[in-house]
């Protein structure tokens, strides 16, 4: 889809190899599994937990120009919803093509209603969404 996912933990790449080869849930994994052993990159994104030496559950979307556009961080016990990640990724892809449109809260996939901010939209979002 024009994007690449990289998973990152503070485990070494050797542990990633061992895990991917032994855990059947990961048998279909095709993306690179990165090792942030020193926590340097986790710190850049504000997800390094110095008390444990582990990274929190953070997801970050970076555009092809290298700009950070989205961030979601959960505590250890809450998994992230992959459907939501795909929704955000698709929304970003769409808006990169249509720079004058924004994706409102109900936007789920390409083809859903967007908004085009302008002076005439001010105070009229309800009408625009229900047109």
């Amino acid at each position: 889809m024009g994007g690449d996912i990289i998973t990152i933990s503070t485990d070494t790449e050797y542990v990633h190899l061992a895990w991917q080869k032994s855990e059947k849930e990961l048998a279909q994994v095709r993306h690179p599994m990165a090792s942030d052993r020193t926590g340097k990159v986790s710190r850049m994104f504000g997800v390094y937990d110095a008390d444990t030496g582990l990274a929190l559950r953070g997801t970050f979307i970076i555009n092809p120009e290298g700009v950070l556009l989205n961030s979601e961080v959960n505590y250890y016990n809450l998994g992230r919803n992959i459907g939501e990640l795909m929704r955000k990724f698709k929304a970003n892809l769409y808006m990169a093509k249509k720079a004058n449109e924004v994706c409102p809260s109900k936007w789920l996939d390409e083809g859903d209603k967007t908004l085009t901010p302008s002076a005439t939209l001010v105070g009229r979002v309800h009408e625009a969404l229900n047109a």
């Binding site: 990289i6 994104f45 556009l69």
Partner: protein, 56 residues
């Protein structure tokens, strides 16, 4: 000794970084560099998680 790092903000350009990786497709170790993604004009999703061999 740890260096002070300013946490990135949304809208900010992410500085280049490099991490060792295990690549399951090649079955080998390699390197991920953000600069390569920019050069190839690809979107990048970074998915941080606490630890291998755990749950959730």
């Amino acid at each position: 000794m740890s260096e002070a790092v300013t946490v990135l903000k949304l809208g900010e350009r992410v500085p280049d970084f490099e991490l060792p990786v295990y690549d399951p497709v090649k079955g080998d170790f390699g390197k991920f560099r953000l600069a390569d993604q920019i050069q190839k004009k690809r979107w990048t999703i970074l998915f941080f998680y606490p630890a291998d061999f755990t749950f959730v």
